[in-house]
Amino acid sequence: MNVQTSDILPADLSEMSEAQLRKLENKIARKHSGMFPWLMVSWAFGNLAFWLSLWPLVFFDVIPLWLGFILSTISLSLVYLPTHDAQHDIIARPGQKLRWLNELLGHATSWMIVSPFNVFRVTHLEHHRHANDLDLDPDIASKAPGPWSAIWKSIKERQPSGTRGANYMKTLERVGRTDLILLAIAYQLGFLAILFTLAWSGYALEAFFLWWLPYHIAMTYLNFFLSWAPHNPATSQARYGNTRSWKSMIGNIGSMGMQFHIVHHLHPYIPLDRTPAAYREMRPILEARGCDLGEM
């Protein structure tokens, strides 16, 4: 396992107090944060343009529908993470000059996976506050005993009687954001209106293979890697126990950097692309704290 030596950490952590460990951890975290996340911004708007371009490319027979389907599935699977950085104000915090860009990125891309940006933001921050809490974590529906059951549960919970949507609505109600419930419903109905219009205009297969099916595959993928895997078995609510690092069979890029999700829960202001480096430097501290670090 690659361990990056840190110029911040001393060789021996065993005699250090809790406060000293925390101070060092925060110093490492600050080293890997504060820079403008060029990658996430390019990723967000580039992906938006790419996905929108698939429609005329397929409609005008420039590319076949099967290729459009594959590309759309990949593209929609990549929508969430830039909005995730925006949800944590990583592009710009309130009051900063580029705050408009943070908000634009979130609002301009989250609709592709049929959710208002603010619904994602509010529920995700509640997930951080109450990770793995059976009653208060809006993502608790992802909890499952193993990978295959996690995939099946993701599909099951998105059906009419599923609990995922209900958990999100419950969370929004609890935090006093019932306005977002109506907005979320409006987004879903808008999505259906577009699908129905395309379908009854003779473009049902395009609607199915360019949006509906890629969206559901993307959500299953996102629920698995962002929600289930980094928190499994999702029993602890402790700061250093509610998330883990883990080795993905499909590597860091295939799992969208979620192998290092523990760093994100500890320091959510670190941009996604910096979490691997921050993890490697922070690893001795996390080990000293007894965190679940898997094979990483």
Partner: protein, 65 residues
């Protein structure tokens, strides 16, 4: 009034989705495959039967699969 309409729409969403989307997908998919539905049914009638039944089951059971 809006809440009542919205409530009804949400309550019958599986059936609405079946007719609004699933039926044309099945119909156009059948045509794209060049397949003739049984019993001399038109592709739309065939899609209405399959999609409508599936939607009704999802409406009652709360699950598509």
């Amino acid at each position: 009034m809006l809440e009542k309409i919205l409530g009804s729409v949400l309550k019958f969403l599986p059936l609405i989705f079946a007719v609004g989307f699933l039926v044309p997908v099945i119909a156009q998919g059948t045509e794209a495959l060049g397949w003739m539905p049984p019993f001399g049914l038109s592709t739309l009638t065939f899609a209405l039967v399959i999609g409508g039944t599936w939607g009704l089951i999802a409406q009652i059971k709360g699950r598509w699969i």
